[in-house]
């Protein structure tokens, strides 16, 4: 059990770099992450560290991992709903399965788990249900699947741990708790519920109607070594900005950056225009950044994993009072706080804020109709 490690890291603390350096090029490693973008990032970093991608190291998306390693090789003995031994032709990426409910009402097109069509569309797996399909296998089959995994692989890396939710999280937990498994999972707890696509937060980050705390999250990995110290300092975010985050958002983050850093709230019209029109400053909107022509722009959620020299954040109403003495986020949920945390922690040097109401005065000028 003690072979696995969970590492909780701060934003910009060099998770990718750390994984690349942690890899032993002699052993057999699988590096798994959520997005293709991140697969590319990891590959680049590993190549930087080791000269080339080591012969026995593969970097792949979570979907590819589940499909290639946990499902495909076993198809002749898998049970898929009410069928067995279906030979599929891949993963469906363009179509989502019918949900159980639509607008709160039961969906008659929904297929239950005892129907193979719950998992498959024309001989292809719905990517959102592959984890649940692995978990639905019998104990014996799961044993075979896991045995094979660790027969070919010494060390499993999971990047962006906080993105594992629902059945994906359950599957990850199953692997971490495996006796012979050597899993290394790293993520930033405070970046959970910040996604590039729209979704409503779910397990394990909620408990009933409430979000869980970091300590409660840690309890989910009971029995596994949890490292909170190694990647506690942000290499990216300057000290002053880290302090600002800690005070205002209540998220503890330290800095190891040598840059002094600068942040300010812009309220004067001339200053606002100057910054917005500066092409060296990336403008971070809560949403719909593509509707503005003051390039470069990006949504808060989409900026995850990115690093920028200078940024300007357009504050939503929720955070209008951020700079006031008595600002507190006690009444806010992580689903509201975390996206701003992500947005703020992108910067290495200069950070500007503009309140939405101040930006509105200029909106017409920059909006694409």
């Amino acid at each position: 059990m003690a072979r696995s490690t969970i590492m909780l890291a701060a934003a910009g603390s060099g998770k990718t770099y750390y994984i690349a350096n942690h890899i032993n090029p002699i052993s057999r490693n699988l590096v798994i992450t959520y997005t293709r973008q991140n697969v590319a990032n990891l590959k680049r970093e590993i190549k930087n560290t080791h000269g080339e991608l080591p012969k026995n190291t593969q970097v792949l998306t979570f979907t590819s991992f589940v499909y290639r390693w946990l499902l495909k090789p076993f198809e002749p003995i898998l049970t898929i709903g009410d069928r067995t031994a279906i030979i599929t032709v891949g993963v469906e990426i363009n179509k989502e399965p019918e949900p159980q409910r639509v607008n709160g009402k039961p969906n008659y097109k929904y297929r239950k788990q005892d129907d193979y069509r719950h998992y498959l569309n024309n001989q292809k797996y719905y990517s959102s249900r592959i984890s649940s399909l692995v978990l639905a296998q019998s104990k014996e089959i799961k044993k075979v699947i896991i045995k094979r995994l660790f027969e070919f692989c010494d060390q499993l890396y999971f990047d962006e741990l906080q993105d594992f939710m629902g059945k994906d999280f359950e599957l990850l937990s199953m692997l971490i708790n495996e006796k012979n498994a050597k899993v290394f999972a790293v993520g930033d707890f405070h970046q959970h519920s910040v996604s590039k696509s729209n979704f409503t937060a779910s397990k394990p980050f909620t408990k009933g109607k409430h979000f869980i705390s970091k300590d409660e999250y840690k309890l989910l990995f009971k029995g596994t070594h949890i490292d909170e110290m190694t990647l506690i300092k942000s290499r990216r975010v300057p000290r002053e900005i880290c302090e600002f985050i800690s005070t205002k958002l209540g998220i503890k983050i330290q800095s190891s950056s040598i840059v002094k850093g600068h942040f300010e709230l812009l309220e004067e019209n001339s200053r606002i225009t100057e910054v917005i029109e500066d092409i060296n400053i990336i403008k971070l909107f809560f949403r719909d950044s593509r509707k503005y022509n003051c390039l470069p722009t990006i949504n808060w959620g989409y900026s995850k994993g990115d690093t920028y020299n200078k940024t300007c954040i357009i504050l939503t109403k929720t955070f209008e009072s951020l700079f006031e003495e008595d600002f507190s986020c006690d009444h806010l949920t992580p689903a509201q706080i975390n996206p701003l945390y992500v947005a703020i922690t992108r910067v290495t040097n200069e950070l500007y804020f503009i309140k939405e109401k101040d930006f509105k005065r200029h909106k017409e000028k920059y909006a694409i109709l």
Partner: protein, 526 residues
């Protein structure tokens, strides 16, 4: 990685065939048309995606029996198909995972391998059914609606770029002049690093371009100008392997073979497929070749087809796999000292021995010369007519042949002498009770210590003047008084045998001694 097993279904000779391989050297033997080359071809298809990657007439590759079955009962469900399964050894490198899974005939055991199938493409089922209104009754195979698929045991699509075995196939049995699959090209691709190949290819194309640019004027006709056909100027397709400035194709077949094989052995390969390497080679060159194979193949797996007994014996009899009637038999269980014996003595009859179903092994030249004729005289049939092979073992070696027969399971009759020793007679009696496929025959009487004595006793009156040709013959043998004619036969064994087999007064009259006749009658019944 190496090939552990090959399964062929419905391909050419093989309706349902399985063969296992050693990690190192494998020598395939068998009669012509037994399917030795088909085995190499099947490996080439599964591993290198040969033949079926282009659409041509593939009907000839189906197994005749299966096509016949289909034609007597034509339906979409009985359409012939080809399946080739290549099993690798268990290996757990991360990248071997691509080959590991349950998509194989070995389910539920996880194995590494590739499956090739050539079958009716189910997506055309509706089309075909509607074409025939459900009453499908074709008597030919609609290969136009067939699909060739390569899938790893992990269920993933296999492409030969991901081949786990760097391999080379050397076919010395025929001259292959296929421009796009030439031998030189394979050697080039296997032997020169990707980066160097890219560089060479780039330089080559650049120089061709320079040539065009420099000669632009001459290459112009009115408003047209000549360029170079890019499809024809791919460097690797133009390469020709040379030795001392002479293309190896022009060095004589024997030399060509030797060079081809030697180069293949030098290339770092995981798998070497050698088709009849002995072709066009003299005895000495064959021996040289064998030595090269032994010393140069390193850790590569080799699969060799051959008709040459030297290759079989010198590469260790136990590496031999005998292909016959759509099945295969490994000789790995032959005892070590027997294998050693054959390895040390260049036994030219070894292959005949293995391939024959019924064999008579005789002690010396006299029996070898006389037996065919005497059988005809005594039994009114011929050994040839009964498909019996007669081999001369020479002395005590029949024990090694018995070891071999135990494994090969052919019917073996050994004709031997009792050397006047009762113990020999007794022990032979014991031996004959042990095996159903092996009989050793000698005279039961110790007085008849050797073949000539038995022959003379059986035919005393017919042979009573045979010594006349040598009037000086003394009526004694090894200082024991002996009939003059018998003494002549004992002292001039080969001469006497030749005379009996040729001269009219003996040729069709002399009969088989009893023990030999008994033996042959047993053998014929097997």
């Amino acid at each position: 990685m190496y090939i552990e097993q090959l399964k062929i279904k419905g391909f050419k000779k093989f309706k349902d065939f399985t063969i296992s391989f050693n990690k190192h050297i494998n020598v395939l033997i068998g009669e012509n048309e037994a399917g030795k080359s088909t085995i190499l071809e099947a490996i080439d298809i599964a591993l290198n995606q040969k033949i079926f990657n282009s659409t041509n007439n593939s009907e000839k590759y189906f197994n005749n029996d299966i096509v016949h079955q289909y034609k007597t009962n034509p339906s979409i469900d009985t359409l012939p198909r080809i399946e080739i399964e290549l099993l690798f050894n268990d290996e757990n490198e991360l990248n071997s995972e691509y080959f590991n899974g349950l998509h194989s005939s070995f389910t539920p055991i996880l194995k590494n391998g590739i499956t090739f199938t050539y079958k009716f493409d189910e997506s055309y089922r509706e089309l075909l059914e509607s074409m025939y209104d459900g009453g499908y009754d074709e008597s030919f195979v609609p290969t136009d609606y067939y699909i060739a698929e390569w899938v790893t045991f992990a269920g993933r699509k296999y492409i030969n770029k991901k081949s786990p075995l760097k391999n080379v196939l050397i076919d010395n049995s025929i001259r292959k002049n296929n421009l796009f699959d030439s031998y030189s090209k394979r050697i080039f691709n296997n032997n020169i690093k990707v980066r160097d190949r890219q560089h060479l290819s780039y330089q080559f194309r650049k120089n061709i371009q320079n040539f065009i640019t420099e000669n632009n004027e001459q290459l112009n006709i009115k408003e047209y100008n000549f360029g170079i056909d890019e499809d024809k100027t791919v460097l690797e397709n133009l390469l020709d392997l040379k030795s001392d400035g002479v293309s190896i194709q022009n060095k004589g077949k024997g030399k060509e073979n030797l060079i081809k094989t030697e180069i293949a052995l030098e290339v770092e390969c995981d798998l070497i497929l050698l088709e009849e390497p002995e072709n066009h080679l003299s005895y000495i060159n064959t021996r040289k070749l064998i030595k090269d194979i032994q010393t140069m193949c390193g850790n590569a797996q080799m699969i060799i087809t051959t008709h040459n007994p030297l290759i079989v014996s010198r590469l260790d009899l136990r590496n031999t796999i005998w292909i016959s009637k759509g099945t295969c038999h490994s000789l790995e269980k032959v005892q070590e000292d027997a294998a050693d014996y054959f390895m040390k003595t260049d036994n030219m009859q070894l292959l005949n021995f293995i391939l024959a179903q019924k064999v008579i092994l005789v002690e010396g030249n006299s029996e070898f010369i006389l037996l065919p004729q005497l059988v005809k005289n005594s039994l009114s049939y011929t050994l040839e007519g009964k498909n019996i092979e007669i081999l001369s073992g020479g002395g005590i070696t029949y024990k090694h042949y018995i070891e071999l027969s135990k494994v090969v399971n052919n019917s073996l009759l050994v004709i031997t002498d009792n050397d006047g020793d009762q113990d020999t007679v007794d022990s032979i009696g014991q031996l004959n009770k042990k095996y159903t496929n092996i009989q050793v025959k000698c005279s039961d009487s110790v007085i008849e210590f050797t073949f000539e004595v038995c022959l003379f006793n059986k035919n005393a009156s017919e042979l009573n003047t045979i010594s006349d040709i040598k009037p000086g013959t003394k009526a004694e043998y090894r200082e024991v008084a002996t009939d003059k004619n018998l003494a002549y036969m004992l002292k001039n064994k080969t001469e006497a045998a030749l005379r009996i087999s040729e001269e009219d007064n003996y040729k069709e009259i002399v009969l088989l001694p009893e023990y030999i006749q008994e033996g042959i009658e047993w053998l014929v019944l097997q």
